[in-house]
Structures are given as C-alpha cells and as structure tokens.
C-alpha cells in the first residue's frame, strides 16, 4: 500500500483546517464550505479505494520513532486493516455528508470559517485515532477529538453556560484519559510494546503474565472508554454537549467520536478476551447505562436532549455486546446507529432551523406538512432505532439481544437490554408525535415562517434515511458480510453465526412486539390523547426525578466539584500562610525577632549581599588555611 496515499487520507482534512484558519475569513463562506467539505470527501474517496483494494493482511506504516522508553520505542505509525478501513468509511462518509449539511446550516453564522476549521480538524484527529498503529498514536487522536469536541461545544462562546458544558466535557474525558494512560503504562510494562500487531502476537504467546495485571490493564482502558463513549459513571457530559451546533451533535456526539471507546475495545479484543472478569463488568456497565439513559430520555422535552440520552443508551447496548465478547455485533450496531442517529440529529437540526432555534418539543407540533422530507426521513430513522423489521436497527439490536440471551443462563442482561429497547421505541415516537403531529404550538410568527429546509440539508437526510433503511443488509443472520470481513481481527473463532432456529424467531418476535408496544403507548398518549408534557414547575414524582436526570449532576457537583473548590480556598487562604510560617521556622518568638531584625536592617539588600560575600570568603579562607594543618 502506498504510504503517500495514507498520508493524503490523513492530511487532506488537516489542510482543510489550515486553509479555513488562515484564509477562511477572506475567502468567504461559500469557499470555506466547499474546501471544508471537499477535504473530507477526498479522504472518503481514498478510503473507498483502500476498501476496494485492501489485502487481507494488515499494513503497517512506520514513519519514525516518536517516543522512546527504556525498554521499547513507540513509533509514529499507522495501521491499515479491516477495522480501521471500516471505521474510516463511516467517519469520512458521514463526515462528508455532515460537512455538506453544515454549509447551509451554518451559513448565517459569522464564524462559519472557524466552524469548518474545527470540523476539519476533528476529522483529521478521528482519522489519526482510527489508523494509529499503537496505543499512543491512538491516544493522539483520542485527545485530539476531545479537543475538537471542546472547541465545538463551546462554539458560541459568548454564552458561559455553553462554555461550562465544553469544559465539563473536556475534564470528564480527561478522567477517562487518565485511565487510558494507566492502561497504556501497564500494557507497556507487561508486554514491552504498545504496537497493536506485536501486542497481539505477544499476548497470544505470553505465558508468565499475571492475569491480575492483565485484568487491571483492561479495566483501566475500559475506564478510558467510559469517558469518551459516555458510559456510567462518566456519561453526564454528553447531554450537556448538545450546547454545540447540531451538525456537531450529529457528527461528533452521535456517529463518530463517541464510538471511539468501542473502537478501542474492538482493537484490543485479544486483551479483553483474556480478562473475563472485566468483560463481565463491561457488560453490566453497558446494560445499566442503556437502561438508565433510556429512562431519562422518556421525559426530556428538549428534542436534542432526547436524542443525546438515546445515544448514551445505544452506546450502552454496544458495550453490552462488547462485554459479551461479541465485538462484530457491537461494530454492527455502531454502523447502523451512525446512520440513523446522524439522520435523527440532522433532522432535529432541520426542525430547529425551521423554528429559528426552538428546541423545546412542547412548542412544536404539526410540522409534518410544512417539513415533509424532514418528517419522513426522521420517521424512517425512528423506525430503525426502534428496531422495526426490516430496517437497519432491527438487525443490529436483535443481534445484541440474541447474544445476551444465548450468553448464559442468567437472562438478566437480556431483560435489561429488552426493556431499554422498548423504552427506545416509546421515547422516539414520543418525539415524532410531539414534533410532527397534531397542531403547531409555537408562536404565530414562527408558524408564518415554517418551511422545509433547503436541499443541502435534505439531501444528506435522504441519504442517511436510505442507509438507515437498508443498512442491516451488511450483517443478516446466517449471511453476514460484516462478520466475514472482520474475521481476521479476532483471535477467538468468530461467534457461530446465529442460525435461525425457533428460539431466534421467538426472540425476534418478542423484540418486535416490545417495540410495537412502546410505539403504541406513545401513539395513545401523544397522538390520540394529544397530551403535552407539563411545564417544568408542574413535573412531580418519579417524572421529576427522571426529568432531573436522577440528580446525578447535582450529586457530582456536591461530591467532587464543590469540595475541591472549598479545598482550594482552604489551601489558598490558610495552609499557604501556615506553611510559610512553618518552613521559615519562625515560631512566635523568632517571628518577632525577625520583624525587629528587619527593622534594624531596613531590609537592606546590601547587607545580605555583603553577608554572602563574607561567607564565601570565610569558607575559602578556611579551606585555604586548612591545607597547612592537615
């Protein structure tokens, strides 16, 4: 494989970034949009070429030695294999679509060039993350996308609430990143390499390596994943991240960046397979996240918040699959989720655009006439995420639930996953009914201006809706192209593909009925009875707890943020002074003497310099004279 090709793939978005930073303002909005989009499209085209011509064997490109540790060198290198190509496909593919969409969506923003610059930079780091040949290269991309996320959440920086959200995202991610780093350290000291290909062979042949340390490494790396992929307990930044412009929510906080944790675990599948206890933890954390986030999504009224919690919940399902060792299933859901969740976010963006910034579903309603394309595409995506046959989400979610069901005799994970899925169907259709059906609840002014979005917005929606419809085809039970494609990555023989026996049909039936029940309840409540969620002040009981997200933010605030700030005050105001007194060795008496002494000398520098010189002379003299007496 041509090294230059890979470099172009990586650097095209970076050049787009440089262009937009340095020339963007002068070049004008149209040029900014075109250059920004094309630079990602170039990467997409190269990815397609790589995809078509890739060999079975992974290709490693080492550019130079980057950091040296005593026992090993860490190279600046890339790894192109099935996994990276797969991720590149949807990162650059969906990335191109969302860039295209943003040309129209951000056109009225005076800082459009910065927006495209950051978005290009994000794609650059995301590519770096995906094609890094070792853990530390991955870490460059990992922190880089975190940076872009920070910059884009706080894009409208005049609003300090948005800046708070951006900061929160960065810091919570960094908690996870510390886990990632610790994992890297342990992996490095256990196996003397951070290189993915050598790690795999080393681990397979390793004999005397302590299981405990492998488990600790796996756990630490998983903590890293919980930060980036918004899992319990580090998920609270993602809903706040909705402060960013909607294309950002679609690209970074739904389709690509938040899947980095899943990418990492899949990349290191050979390591996690050796730590079954950690895999159990991953499965449980995933299932719990799926359920907790789904319950919160039930009552949210901000259209983007619903989608955000939905994302957290779906990521939870993916981790559930990872914990069960079904990496290919998790990857399958990553891909289908990227299609329908990007579509949903972009659709919500179209709605928000149409309503001039309104995000509260209580003030929407009846939009399906005015925005037919947005409505239909979002409806398809909602059906897909709800898991209705034969849309993409049906197949991928079904695979996860089947895996959970077959995994052991304990059906708890399957039950939790299924409940979360039923809830998904409910809250998605709650969103659809509240937004598009019945009569419009906004102002007359808004009503007057209702319109379908321009084609730069609707075309990406249509493409994503089609993908949400047919995307399941890449991994049909019994005929899974995806599983075959990914097979070389996994050390364990890929899970026997589910042959469609009676159990499987029954599970599918249960899942479908569950989804229909969820949709049915939403239909009854929000379409038939035309219920409008109550005003914030009137929410009571369990809904209030859910509406306030179980008060997790408040709990974190009082357990971590406030104490550390109090500690800071304490240190700054008291400890510093005491330390100063302590170290100076000035008790009360000596302090007094010092003050008197200072008065006497009037703080004269000359005196101290003099003392210093005298001291040196005395010592030199002593040394000199000493020669004669020894």
């Amino acid at each position: 494989m041509d090294t230059n090709l890979v470099l172009v793939l990586l650097l095209a978005p970076f050049l787009g970034f440089l262009f937009n930073v340095f020339l963007g303002k002068k070049a004008g909005k149209n040029v900014v949009g075109i250059v920004g989009t094309l630079s990602v499209a170039v990467s997409f085209v190269i990815t397609l070429y790589l995809f078509a011509n890739a060999s079975q064997e992974p290709v490693v490109i080492n550019l130079f030695d980057w950091i040296s540790i005593q026992r090993f060198d860490i190279s600046f290198g890339f790894l192109i294999d099935q996994l990276s190509i797969l991720w590149l496909l949807f990162v650059t593919g969906i990335g191109s679509l969302i860039h295209l969409y943003s040309i129209s969506y951000m056109h009225d923003d005076e800082k459009m060039h910065s927006f495209f610059a950051y978005l290009n930079l994000f794609i650059f780091f995301m590519i770096a993350l995906v094609i890094g040949s070792n853990l530390l290269m991955m870490f460059i991309g990992w922190e880089g996308v975190g940076l872009c996320s920070y910059l884009l959440i706080g894009f409208w920086y005049k609003n300090q609430n948005f800046n708070d959200a951006a900061k929160k995202a960065f810091i919570m991610n960094r908690i996870g990143d510390l886990g990632f780093l610790i994992g890297i350290f342990i992996v490095g000291s256990l196996f003397n390499t951070l290189d993915f290909t050598s790690l795999r062979t080393t681990i397979e042949s390793a004999k005397d390596v302590s299981d405990l340390w492998i488990a600790i490494a796996a756990l630490a790396l998983f903590i890293g994943a919980t930060g980036k992929s918004a899992q319990l307990p580090l998920y609270t930044w993602l809903p706040d991240a909705m402060a960013g412009p909607t294309p950002v929510s679609a690209l970074i906080h739904a389709a690509t960046m938040v899947t980095a944790g899943i990418f990492m675990l899949t990349r290191l599948n050979f390591l996690f397979d050796m730590a079954p206890s950690v895999q159990n933890i991953i499965a449980i954390v995933g299932a719990c996240t799926a359920l907790v986030a789904a319950t919160i999504a039930l009552v949210q009224n901000d259209i983007k918040k619903v989608l955000a919690y939905s994302t957290v919940s779906q990521l939870g399902l993916m981790f559930l699959a990872l914990g069960l060792g079904a990496y290919e299933v998790a990857v399958f859901h990553v891909i289908t989720h990227a299609f329908f969740k990007a579509c949903l976010f972009l659709g919500s963006g179209s709605v928000i655009h149409g309503l001039h910034g309104e995000q509260d579903m209580r003030k929407m309603g009846g939009l399906k006439k005015a925005m037919p394309i947005t409505f239909i595409t979002m409806l398809i995506a909602s059906l897909a995420i709800a898991g209705i046959f034969p849309l993409a989400g049906f197949w991928s979610k079904d695979e996860i639930l089947m895996t959970a069901f077959n995994h052991s005799n304990n059906k708890a994970l399957w039950v939790v996953g299924s409940i979360a899925s039923i809830m998904t169907a409910f809250y998605m259709f709650r969103l659809i009914y509240l937004t598009f059906f019945n009569s419009f609840r906004g102002t007359e002014e808004q009503k007057h201006h209702l319109h379908e979005s321009p084609s730069l917005i609707t075309v990406p929606l249509i493409i994503l809706a089609i993908l949400s419809f047919v995307g399941g085809a890449i991994s049909l039970p019994g005929h899974s192209w995806l599983n075959d494609y990914l097979a070389p990555l996994f050390t364990k023989v890929a899970h026997e593909e589910h042959t469609l026996g009676s159990t499987e049909y029954m599970l599918m039936a249960i899942a479908t009925i569950g989804a229909l029940i969820g949709i049915g309840i939403a239909y009854k409540k929000y379409l038939k009875d035309n219920t409008i969620p109550s005003e914030d002040a009137e929410i009571t009981g369990l809904s209030k707890v859910l509406y306030n997200k179980y008060y997790v933010d408040e709990i974190y605030d009082s357990v971590f943020v406030k104490p550390i700030n109090l500690l800071s005050d304490l240190f700054r105001e008291h400890v510093e002074k005491s330390l100063s007194a302590l170290v100076f060795g000035l008790g009360k008496v000596t302090n007094e003497i010092a003050i008197q002494g200072k008065k006497a000398h009037n703080g004269s520098v000359g005196f101290y310099l003099f003392a210093f010189v005298i001291g040196v002379i005395v010592i030199l003299t002593y040394l000199f004279l000493q020669q004669f007496f020894i």
């Binding site: 930073v21 130079f64 030695d65 980057w66 950091i67 040296s68 540790i69 005593q70 600046f76 530390l136 870490f139 460059i140 990992w142 922190e143 880089g144 940076l147 920070y150 706080g154 920086y157 005049k158 300090q160 800046n163 708070d164 900061k167 960065f170 810091i171 960094r174 990143d177 510390l178 780093l181 610790i182 350290f185 342990i186 490095g188 000291s189 600790i216 550390i564 700030n565 500690l567 800071s568 240190f571 700054r572 510093e576 330390l579 100063s580 302590l582 170290v583 100076f584 703080g603 520098v605 101290y608 310099l609 210093f612 001291g615 040196v616 010592i619 040394l623 000199f624 000493q626 020669q627």
Partner: protein, 480 residues
Amino acid sequence: MDVTTLLIILLLGAFATYFSGDKWAPKVALLFSLTAFAGAICLLSQYNLGNEISYSKLWIAKPKIYFALQADGLALAMVLLTTALTPIIIFSSFGNTYKNSKAFYALIVFMSFAMSGTFLASDGLLYYIFWELSLIPIYFIALIWGNGDAEERKKAVVKFFIYTLAGSLFMLIAFVYLFQKAGSFLISDLTALNLSSSEQFWIFMAFFLAYAIKIPLIPFHTWQAKVYQKAPTVGTMLLAGIMLKMGLYSVIRWQLPIAPLAAKEYMYVFIGLGIAGVIYGSIVALKQKDLKKLLAYSSMAHVGLIAAGAYTLTLDGLRGAVLQMIAHGFVVVGLFFVAEIIFRRYETRKIAEMGGIRAQSPKFTSMFMILVLASVALPSTFNFVGEFTVLYSLSQVNVWFAILGGTTIILGAYYMLKMFQHIMLGETNAKLFADVTFNEGLALVVVIAVLFFFGLYPKPIMELITPSLENILTQINRFN
C-alpha cells in the same frame, strides 16, 4: 571553540549592553543573546562531531579548585534551553519601556551567563559560585523593576533572597565536607567517593534544602507565588523558564550521583513529595485571582512531577524529567508572555477584571489556546512527551504514583480551562483589546513552533541527553 567562548560571549554581552546606553541596550542584549544561542548551536554540532568542547584548568592550586566546565549532552541541552529562551524573553519585553534599561538588560544577559555557568560547571565550588551569582541579577530585576506596592514587593523579594541563600549555604557546607574527603571539588572525584550511608544521608539532605527551595518543592514553595507576581514579567520568565530548572538539573547532576544510597533509601519520600506538590499546586491554582499567581502554582505542580520523575532513579524518569524541564521552560515563558500581553492592554492581572477578549482578538486567542493545551500536555505537544515519560517511569515504581501524579492531567485541565474561560470567553468585553502586534505574535509563534516540533519529533533531544543520563545512572548504581 569550547564552552568558555559561550560564557565569554554572554559576559561580554552583559557589559556591552550596560555601556551601550539606555536607547540601544535592548537591541544589544538581543544581539548578544542571539549570538550566544548561535554559539550554543555551534557547540552542539561540535559535540555531535565528537570534538572536545569541555574545558578544565587549575584555578587555585591550594585548595585545589578547578575552572572546570564539562559539556556533556545533558549540560548542553540545558545551555541550549537557556540561550534559546533568553533572546525570546528579551524580545518579548520590546513592547515595554524600562527606566534605566541599560542596567535592566545587562542584568538579564548577566543572569543568562550565570545560569549557563551553573549548568556547565563541573567543579563544585565553581558551580556554587555560578549558582549564587545567578541570584543577584534576578534579585535586582525583581526589586527594582517589579510591580505593585514597593514595600510589599521588597518584602517578597527579600524573603526569596534570604530563603534561597540560606538553602544554598547548606549545599556549600556539604561541598566543604566532600572536599575534605576527596581533596578536590571536581564532580568526577566526588562521585568516586566511597561514602557511608549516613554520610550520604546528610549530604543528600543538605543538597536537598538548596534544591527544594529553588525548584520549589512543597513545603518550601512559599516564596514563589509572591515573587512571580511582583517581579516584572521578564523576571518571572527567567525564574520559571530557566532558573528553577537549575534546581532540578542539580538534583540529577549533583545530588543523585553523589549520594545515591540516600536517594534509594528515601526514594518513596521524595517521589511522594513531588507528587504532593502536583496535587497541592493544582488545587491552589484553581481559585487564584491573579493570573501570574495562578501560573506560579501551575508551575509548582509541573515541577513537582518533574522532581518525582528524577527521584525514580530510572532512565525513563530522568529522561522524562529533562524533556519536561525543557518543554515546561518554553510553555511557561509563553504563558507569562500572554499575561504580559493582557497587562499591556488592560493594565491588570486580576482574572475577574478580564473576560470577553476572544471576540476581539482571534490571533491572540488561538495562540493562548495552544499554550494552554501544551500546558495540559495535549499529545503532539512537547509537554506530552515529557509528562508521558515521567508518568510511565512513576508507574514502574508503583502504579499508584502514576495515578496520583496523573491527576495533573485532570486538575491541570480544570484550572487552565477555567482560567481560559474567565479571561477569554463570554460576552465581548467593553474595553477594547487590540490583537497581538507583529513582535508579540512572533515571540509566541517561535515558542509554539518549538513545542509542536519536539512534540512530534523529540528524538534529537532524546539522543542528546540519553548517553549523559546513562552515565549518571551508572554512577547512581555504583554501590550495587
């Protein structure tokens, strides 16, 4: 050409600056400091070619004191840091005017001379003289050209002076004791001594006092914040960028090889002290109201981590420490310059009086942001290379050290981003903020370029310092 040439350039530069008069002094100082940097580069190429650039001559016959300057890779790296930062620091001050500027700039160049001498000296007494000599210019710079209330400033600066001087005296005593044993002050003789472990302990502690105050390590840091705040920004840059590295460098060069048994025996204590500084400094930084004081505590946190790395007594720890020393030198100079740029426009260092600058100054914002990111060790910046290596070395000693020391990546992000938010973001400030001038931008761009270049390609520095550090490790392990 050998290293004495470099020192002569700097010393001459100091005099030439003084005699060139107030008008020309800044330019002459810049010229000589740039020449010194060029000289350091020449020395580097000579060194890489394998030519002898060290210098040693008997200075005083009785007692035997040598004028010995030893330029190995480690010393060269530090000299390069010093001579690279000095012109940047001088150049960054071009937007300000100082009364009696000939003395001001002469002292800066003189300080560069003394610090370079400290890094190069391989005779204990010569080293001690350079070490103390470097204190004098910074003392005057802070006292005369500093800001804020004169009385308060005097108090802070005098405290600093006495404090560091007192610490150093213990070092001198240790040297005298060592001289009695070895018959010379030469480092090669001192590291060949067969000291008992209790002797090593006392010597280690005497050195420790001098270095812990200079670096500064908790709880010896209490002079730092006030002095950083009161000194003119140029002085703060000299202190934080270069001078505190003298302490860290001396740990590696003198303390560890001379008293390795004590270093091993109490390794956990000193690593712990370094890490305590990381956490404490970060937490105190969080609520600082004065920008320069915030940066002072941030600096304290960073050097705590560097010291912890050095005290691991491993190649990774030492190498990470040196890399991080250099990286920190650049980033901290950049950040203090940012504080100065803001001060030039708003005449305040109180964070509460800033805010909403971003909308008015895109260039300044980007450069400030990059420096913040480098400071929190974003991968691909030089600081990440150093921090990663140090944290890795800590994890090899005990994984808890890496976890506790690693809190710097969380806490650092917290206080730095909070600071950035309060200074730069929010509604546009009513007070006009002009974007960086060409000169200001140039200084920042140079710093940023260095941070990215070595962040992606630290190999040249690693190759420069590794052989010297391996020698030092051999000396450290000679009792095994």
